[in-house]
C-alpha cells in the first residue's frame, strides 16, 4: 500500500468571500510551478482544499517543497479507498504504522455518505479497536494524540489522512500585487522581503552597487539572498543601480552630517522611478524604528518626503533579535553576515544626523544639481533575474 494523494488545506484564503477563487487559483499555479519538474503528478483544486495526485511519486520531497509555499496552512498524506470496511481498515493500519514518532492516536470519522452502514462514532471505535489489535505499542489518546487519523467517507470514496504537517501560512504569492524591495545585503532587508511575500506580495528588488567601493562579492551576496527568497515564491528580478558617481557627488557636496540622509533620499527617488516604470505600486524596506541613524522618526520623516509611494516597513516595530531569528529560519542570516562592504557602509560620516531637519536637507539638495546624474544612473541600471536554481552553467558542468 502507498499514499496516493497529498491533501492541502488553505490558510487564510478559507476566510475570503467572493474572491476565494482568485486566491485558490493563484495558489494552484504556485504549487504547480514549484513542482513542475516532478513528472506524473496532478494538482487538483476544490473549493475548500487542494489535492496533489501522486501517481506513484514519493510524497516526502513534495511535502517538503510545499511547506514553503505561502497560502498553505497544512498538508497531509492521504489514501483513497472504496467505501468498504475492510479496505478502510487496511489503509488506516498502513497510515498509522508508516507515521514517524507516533505513540498515541485517535480516529476521527466523518461520514458524508450516509449509505455507509456504520455511523461515525461507532466506526471510530471499530477502527480504533482494529488498529490496537493489529499493532503493538500504540495507545489511544482522544485529547492530545500524536496523530489524528482522519477518515472521511464521501460519496466518491473514503479518504484516510495521516499526520497534519504545518506549512508556512500566509497568502499565495502574487495575490497581493507587487512591491520593490530595497535589498542591501544586510540582515534586515531579506526578512522584510520574506514577510511581504508571506502576505501574497510578489517582490522585485533594487540594489545599489558602488564599485570599486563595493565589490563583486557584495553584489553576489545580494543575488544569493534573493535566491534564498525565491524558495518562497518565484524568480526575483533585481535592478542593480550603478550608484558610485551619485554617491561620490553626495559625499563631496553635502555637509557630512547630512550626506546619509541625502543618499537615502536619492535611493528613494531612484526606487520610485524604477517602480513607476515597472508598474510596481509600493516600495519595501527593512527599516526598524531606532535601529540606526537613518531609521529614527526624524530621518524617516525627512527621507520619506521624496516619494508618494507607499513604503512598506514590515520590520518597523521588531527587535533586532526577532529579525535575526527569522533570518535564521529562512536561511538568509549566514549569507547576510558575509563581511563585505555595501553601499550603506561606505562613505559613512562619523556622525550622521539622527535628527535631520527637512528644511535643511532641501536647502542642501537645492544648492546642487543632481538631475543629470540621476538620469544617467537610471539609464544604466542592469536587470538580473534570479531563479530558484542557481544557473551558473560553467560551474554546473564542473560539478
Amino acid at each position: 500500500m502507498h499514499y496516493e494523494y497529498i491533501l492541502i488545506r488553505y490558510g487564510e484564503i478559507a476566510l475570503k468571500g467572493k474572491n476565494r477563487k482568485f486566491f485558490t487559483q493563484k495558489l494552484q499555479e504556485n504549487v504547480q510551478s514549484e513542482l513542475k519538474d516532478i513528472p506524473d503528478i496532478k494538482v487538483k483544486r476544490q473549493r475548500d482544499r487542494m489535492y496533489i495526485l501522486l501517481n506513484g511519486q514519493d510524497p516526502e520531497p513534495i511535502i517538503n517543497r510545499c511547506k514553503t509555499i505561502f497560502g498553505i496552512h497544512s498538508l497531509s498524506k492521504a489514501i483513497k479507498v472504496d467505501n468498504e470496511e475492510e479496505q478502510i481498515k487496511k489503509a488506516a493500519l498502513f497510515a498509522l504504522q508508516e507515521a514517524q514518532g507516533v505513540n498515541t492516536f485517535k480516529v476521527t470519522t466523518k461520514r458524508t455518505d450516509k449509505n455507509f452502514p456504520v455511523r461515525s462514532q461507532q466506526f471510530n471505535q471499530v477502527l480504533g479497536g482494529y488498529l490496537l489489535k493489529n499493532t503493538e505499542g500504540y495507545t489511544v489518546d482522544v485529547h492530545q494524540p500524536d496523530m489524528e487519523l482522519r477518515v472521511e467517507i464521501r460519496q466518491d470514496g473514503t479518504y484516510i489522512t495521516s499526520q497534519k504537517i504545518l506549512a508556512a501560512g500566509g497568502l499565495p504569492v502574487g495575490s497581493s500585487g507587487k512591491t520593490l524591495l530595497l535589498l542591501s545585503g544586510g540582515i534586515d532587508s531579506p526578512v522584510a522581503g520574506y514577510l511581504t511575500m508571506k502576505r501574497g506580495v510578489q517582490v522585485e528588488a533594487v540594489h545599489f552597487h558602488s564599485p570599486p567601493f563595493t565589490s563583486e562579492r557584495a553584489k553576489q551576496k545580494v543575488f544569493d539572498l534573493a535566491r534564498q527568497l525565491t524558495k518562497y515564491g518565484h524568480s526575483i528580478r533585481i535592478h542593480v543601480v550603478p550608484f558610485t558617481k551619485l554617491q561620490q557627488k553626495v559625499h563631496q557636496v553635502i555637509p557630512h552630517g547630512y550626506s546619509m540622509t541625502v543618499m537615502r533620499r536619492m535611493m528613494m527617488r531612484i526606487s520610485e522611478q524604477i517602480a513607476s516604470r515597472e508598474g510596481i505600486l509600493s516600495l519595501t524596506t527593512g527599516e526598524s524604528l531606532g535601529q540606526v541613524a537613518s531609521q529614527t522618526m526624524e530621518s524617516m520623516h525627512a527621507i520619506n518626503e521624496v516619494t508618494n509611494y507607499p513604503v512598506l516597513r514590515p520590520l518597523i516595530t521588531m527587535d533586532k533579535e526577532d529579525i535575526i531569528d527569522i533570518s535564521q529560519q529562512i536561511d538568509t542570516y549566514d549569507i547576510s553576515i558575509r563581511p563585505y562592504e555595501d553601499c550603506c557602509t561606505v562613505f559613512v560620516p562619523d556622525a550622521p544626523k539622527t535628527m535631520p531637519r527637512k528644511e535643511k536637507v532641501n536647502q542642501f539638495e537645492q544648492a546642487e544639481d543632481f538631475s543629470d546624474l540621476l538620469t544617467e544612473t537610471l539609464e544604466n541600471i542592469e536587470v538580473v533575474t534570479i531563479d530558484s536554481q542557481a544557473k551558473e552553467e560553467e560551474f554546473d558542468a564542473l560539478l
Binding site: 565589490s215 563583486e216 553576489q220 549566514d334 542557481a390 551558473e392 560551474f395 564542473l398 560539478l399
Partner: protein, 379 residues
C-alpha cells in the same frame, strides 16, 4: 585487467579527472584573495559546498573538505578529544575499526585518555547494548564505522545513533568511507554528529574527502592557520580536488540509484560460485554490504593466490590494503573469533558498479583453475 579491489581504491571517473584539470587551469585563484580571480574561486568553492550539502541533505556549514578518510577520522576523533577533554576523557570504539581510527585512539591513550574497544560477534557486529553499557559520565565520543572494510559487515549505526541521542554530552562519529555510495545512511536526525567520507573510494581522486560535522559540534583543529573550512581545517583550499570530489559524490549517488540491483546481482553470482568451491569458506556475513566478500582458503598462502590471480589479470587483495603489509593475521577476522587457519588466509574481493557479470564469471573460473593448479603443491 579485471579490477576487483574497489575497497582498496577505485578508478576515478573520467568526468572527475576532467573537472580537476579544468579547475586547476581556470580557477587557480586563492578563494581568500579579494580580486576577481579569488572571488570566482570562492564562488566555485561555495557552489561545490552547496552541492555537497544538498547531496548529503545537510547544511553547507556542516561540510569540511579534507584530504580523505584518514584525515577525516583523525580530525573527528582527536578534534573531539582535545576540545572536550575537560568534560571527560573516555572514548568508545570497536576493535574492528580502520587503523586511522584505532591508531588515533591509541595515540590519545598515550595522552591519558581511556578507550573502550568493544568486541564484535562472529559476524563482526557491534552490539548496541554493549555500546550503551560502556557509556560513562566521562564518555565524550563514540566512533563506530558503518561498513567494515574487510568483511563488509554493516554496523547498526542507526540504533547506536538513537542511543547517542539520549546522551547529549557525547558525540557520535561514523567512519562511512566504505559505505558511502553503496549502503545508504541518512544523516539528518540520525544522532550522528560526525561522518567521514573519502573521495578515492567512490571513483574520486586520492587526496580528497569530506567530514560532516553537525552544526554546533566543536572540534579542536588539527591544522591551525588562516581559518579555512570553518576554522576546522586551515590551509589554502584544494579547489580542484574539492570540485572533483563533489562531482564524484553526485555521480556515485546517481549510480547507486541505477546500479543497486546490478551490484547485488554480481555479488549473488560471486557468492554462489565461492560457496560451491570446496576449498573456500566465506567469512562475510550474508546480507551485508553489496560490494565486499571476504573469503578464506585455509592452507593457501593468500599472497600466492593474489599473485597467481593477477597473472591471469584479476586483481583482489588480502585483508585490507591499508594493513596488507603486516605479515600477521587479520585483526578483524581474529576479533570475530575466527581460527588462525582462516584469519591468516583471508582474501577480499570488492566490487564497484563498473564491474560486469562476465568479469565475475571470469574470476570464478580463474580462481577455480588457480586452486586446482596449486592444490597439488599447497593444498
Amino acid at each position: 585487467m579485471i579490477y576487483l579491489d574497489n575497497s582498496a581504491t577505485t578508478k576515478p571517473y573520467q568526468e572527475v579527472i576532467d573537472s580537476f584539470t579544468q579547475v586547476s587551469e581556470k580557477y587557480y585563484g586563492n578563494p581568500s584573495s579579494i580580486h576577481r580571480t579569488g572571488a570566482a574561486a570562492e564562488r566555485l568553492l561555495w557552489r561545490a559546498r552547496q552541492q555537497a550539502a544538498e547531496l548529503l541533505d545537510v547544511k553547507e556549514e556542516e561540510i569540511v573538505f579534507t584530504s580523505g578518510g584518514t584525515e577525516g577520522n583523525n580530525t573527528a576523533i582527536k578534534g573531539i578529544a582535545l576540545a572536550h577533554q575537560k568534560r571527560g576523557r573516555h572514548i568508545i570504539t570497536s576493535c574492528i575499526e580502520h587503523p586511522s581510527v584505532l591508531e588515533a585512539c591509541r595515540g590519545l591513550e598515550g595522552l591519558g585518555f581511556s578507550v573502550t574497544y568493544l568486541p564484535v560477534n562472529h559476524q563482526g557486529l557491534v552490539d548496541p547494548a554493549a555500546v550503551e553499557a560502556a557509556i560513562t559520565e566521562e564518555t565524550i565520543l563514540i566512533s563506530i564505522m558503518h561498513v567494515n572494510n574487510e568483511l563488509g559487515t554493516i554496523q547498526p549505526v542507526e540504533e547506536i545513533g538513537k542511543i547517542a541521542k539520549q546522551y547529549p554530552k557525547l558525540h557520535f562519529h561514523v567512519d562511512h568511507v566504505q559505505g558511502f555510495g553503496k549502503v545508504p545512511m541518512p544523516l539528518t536526525n540520525s544522532g550522528i554528529d560526525l561522518c567521514t567520507i573519502s573521495g578515492h573510494k567512490i571513483h574520486g581522486l586520492k587526496g580528497t574527502g569530506l567530514l560532516y560535522a553537525k552544526k554546533g559540534t566543536h572540534l579542536f583543529p588539527l591544522m591551525h592557520g588562516g581559518g579555512q573550512e570553518q576554522s576546522i581545517r586551515s590551509g589554502t583550499e584544494n579547489l580542484a580536488g574539492t570540485v572533483s570530489l563533489v562531482k564524484a559524490l553526485r555521480l556515485i549517488l546517481e549510480e547507486q540509484q541505477k546500479g543497486k540491483q546490478h551490484l547485488l546481482d554480481m555479488k549473488e553470482r560471486l557468492w554462489s560460485c565461492l560457496d560451491k568451491t570446496k576449498q573456500v569458506s566465506i567469512n562475510s556475513p550474508a546480507g551485508h554490504a553489496p560490494h565486499i566478500i571476504n573469503i578464506s582458503v585455509p592452507g593457501f598462502k593468500p599472497e600466492v593466490l593474489i599473485h597467481a590471480l593477477s597473472e591471469k589479470g584479476y586483481y583482489i587483495s588480502t585483508k585490507s590494503a591499508c594493513s596488507s603489509k603486516n605479515e600477521d593475521v587479520s585483526a578483524v577476522l581474529a576479533a570475530c573469533g575466527m581460527p588462525e587457519s582462516k584469519s591468516s588466509s583471508a582474501l577480499r574481493i570488492s566490487l564497484s558498479y563498473h564491474n560486469q557479470q562476465r568479469e565475475i564469471e571470469g574470476f570464478c573460473k580463474a580462481l577455480g583453475e588457480t586452486l586446482h593448479q596449486f592444490s597439488e603443491v599447497m593444498g
